[in-house]
Symmetry: D2
Subunit: 308 residues, 4 copies
């Protein structure tokens, strides 16, 4: 099997390899300049902070469908331990085992490869079992702060939740932009709300996973045209799943991560943010979504905060 | 053994139990109001972002001295895996096992107890092996964003690194405040630089761990007087270690976490920030240091970012 | 809630506290003498070996119903790594995270407590989060080798699998003993086959877990009378589940582990053994089922081997 | 760099590829026939059992020198948890993270590759990050039971511990055979004692790791001539380390595992066994050393038991 012409055509139009130099490892994050961040700080009006991460717990979004992507198992390694003798200050420590892509997370640029390549044309086998990603590991994203824009596609369509077979198109994004009252611009982090997370929040993990609305194969070109820095949403799969085109699996991943070099975020909780933006009548905010710097990581959990 | 009168005297003066209600679980983070955050956003001048986390890797700061506090072991659970057949988009996933207090982290309020109590007078045994912290788990800190102030004690003393037996006193903090040109105020996150991390960065893990400069038992009163929201520094132990008073182990932990209900941060990398502040001639900045929301957690790794 | 009189009556009759001294930590394993083992070696006729462990894998018997009892996640930490330079011998290493009670395992004597006590009358809180079991940790079982006897209750009833509500009684054990053509005696390890594992082997994990046939509350007295060293079976819960007596949960665990000090094994695969014994017309064999010596462990995975 | 002619010459003489068929995945374990096991059972005289595994604990033999080979971290996931309500039977469960090659273990046949091949001529890249070993995974070793023979090289040389630069030669093995009063034969599991573990037992982990006595590059031919089933010893590296021939790293691993298809065991505690054999005046015994069946595993911890 090879990827169809349709995929390669889009790939050609949005390819960013070499755009920031042969040595580049962070792709579209280069679009976040000091100026962009300064301006993002200017969007803060009320000082209200909205957290966007799901709680990290055994009862997380993973169902076992994706082998190895295990929900967090946090255990105590010390529990009120009087390390220095009876009656002294006691300590409690914990440890965790978890999949880096298990909860609210960023896909790193090496999370997918196609045709033997990762972002910037490097060989896929530069990612190894022992060292992880030699290039574009998630630790190269030292900070991820910019203007955030919520594109509330579900709200723009006056739905709580998009249907499971709804591919979010550029037209959807523009309708949400209109609702937002702002235009997406270079260096923005775009958050696309489908409402799909409500399935999980309502107790239906399997319904959350599949079938799922998500981004259409037509969106990478739109994000490329706007020079977006990164995109996240409130689904497990990011893109519509099962896919729009038969047997073309995860095309948006291939286009965003490999061709454009743009991080993708999944399982973000955009419910409170949706309400907060609606209340404020503003859909732009200061956003910090810096991943944990796992050396060689193909991704990382993240606890993003929007400041309105 | 019981804690000495000296400890209890200070404890009485700084105790915040009940200050934000019997049900409170976040202590001094209550001091971060919308107004504080709005004002913090106003400190952004250049848009320069400085990351404060150490890379997460096997070769981390832990030496095995503290049982169970294991350096991160990140492994690939999928590596260019063509899950949907040959020639399809391939995925790479990873998983990690790590101590939550192993790297750059926040101590949660339940990280220590004394005399059978945690913050707000709750019983220490409300922290359990299975559920972790029933109260004041780190997930209750949904966001941690405020004005950050760097108190560069090493620089104020014109030292690269404070000596291993140097207890950072209120006088040190005030000298650093003078260098900073700003006064620490309610809701601030204070970062205290000792330069101790240079030992680790220079390859000496054991020298980094011990002996270590750190905060004096006299500092909790100072932080309490200023109504600081949280304090972090660039050492393994946070407070001076071995302690100032013989056989009084971890008194600052007991005072900050249990009595005041104030988060402590350790192993923060303040080296680049020190340079950035010196260059800018400004020691205040917008700081996001939101922990990962581990349910019941006694702490969490954090990837803090200062925006200048 | 307290445990009913019925439980305490049996407990009294089978209690072994002090039987092997106040300092004892291994309970009925004391019954395995050199003489018993010598005689067990004499049961070997053909030299046929039958493995009794399930494969250790992500797709194991756990369903997530029991929090923290996670199926094994094995990952590569090195993969054909030419550690000493290109063209040298390459190494592949792996690491695992798993629940010690997740797969084919022994419950250690500290796996349960009741009324604040563990085996030999020690306080339940002698098991701690940091050190695990101070007494009777699984590492105290340095070897577990004896005569094994298969009591094939399903076969004796001419069933593939006992119904989900079938409590295995002393009468069942005696019928199986008759089929086996041997009498259970002091120091034996008894393997009780219900056939329940066939649900899991057939792909039905939930059906395997619940409802499940298993040992009746009447069996501990039978095992006590025979002075059995240890008992294992082919179910997730060991005893019938849901329980025979309303609201009396896990009574067999309490009786076997706490009162008698007798190890219990679960999730053992007795299918091939059932056939091998039937073919040989003999139900006794040499059995090694030594647990991994996890210091302080409340249990351990085990890879038992029967030698016929 | 390529492997020297010397290596390839030996390789040719001992190569077992195809010997047990193209489909074979267990190599020399094929030499353990029912007859061998029946005869092994006949070596039991006293019924004395000697455990050969080191305790599994944080304070294990690993020093961090080999990345990813982490000592066991066992934690409680439930601690006297009254799952069914107050006053009910309470349960304690634990979980572990550990390197499969970290403690007393078997190297599986895929633990090393050379020249792109593993045992039986299969491609090295048949071992993958997600699935582990597609062929010759440690789970294929369903049982490992045979006659064990202790070759106490240290005792034969009247030393507590061989010097760090001592390569154990065929002559050493034969001297130990003479001491043992038995001849190593087809299907045996040979345990070679160097005494090196005494360094670790005496508290010197680094001295234990390096420099270490171990098997000479000349031993694979000897084991091949005798048709040994498996070999284990009491060192971290199995073979002499640093190696006998400059820049020829881990040649014995390459010869034993890849060419012969013979499992290697490391970090076995042979101290008590040495005494037991000397006391009994017999160095043969029944040995069960079945690994845990990790699917795809490149090795496994093992808790071997010798029955004398």
């Amino acid at each position: 099997m090879t990827l169809p012409a349709e995929f390669h055509d889009i790939a050609k139009r949005i390819n960013n390899w070499g755009r920031w130099g042969e040595g580049d490892e962070i792709g579209t994050l280069n679009l976040i300049t000091d100026e962009v961040v300064r301006s993002a700080a200017g969007t803060v009006r009320s000082g209200r902070r909205v957290p966007l991460a799901l709680p990290l717990q055994q009862d997380g979004v993973q169902t076992g469908m994706i082998p190895g992507r295990v929900n967090p198992l946090r255990t105590m390694v010390a529990l009120n331990l009087e390390m220095f003798g009876p009656g002294t200050i006691a300590t409690s420590d914990d440890a965790v085992t978890m999949g880096l892509q298990a909860a609210t997370h960023w896909d790193g640029l090496t999370h997918v490869s196609h045709s033997g390549k990762i972002y910037n044309g490097r060989p896929a086998d530069s990612v190894t079992a022992h060292g992880g990603a030699a290039f574009s590991g998630i630790e190269k994203v030292t900070t991820l702060v910019s203007r955030g824009v919520l594109l509330d596609v579900a709200a723009a369509r006056k739905l709580d939740r998009l249907p499971g077979d709804h591919a979010v198109t550029p037209e959807d994004l523009e309708a949400a932009e209109e609702l937002a009252g702002t235009t997406v611009r270079a260096g923005d982090i775009v958050l696309v709300r489908t409402g799909q997370l409500r399935s999980y929040l309502g107790g239906d993990k399997h319904g959350y996973a599949f079938p799922s609305p998500g981004l259409s194969i037509r969106t990478p070109e739109w994000f490329h045209a706007r020079d977006v820095a990164a995109v996240a949403n409130d689904t497990l799969t990011f893109e519509i799943f099962p896919p729009e085109i038969e047997n073309l699996w995860l095309p948006v991943h291939g286009l965003d991560l490999v061709e454009m070099g743009m991080l993708q975020g999944q399982n973000w909780n955009l419910e409170e943010l949706s309400e907060a933006c609606a209340e404020a009548g503003r859909y732009e905010f200061f956003l910090d979504a810096t991943p944990e710097p796992f050396v060689g990581g193909a991704g990382s959990p993240v606890a993003p905060v929007a400041v309105l």
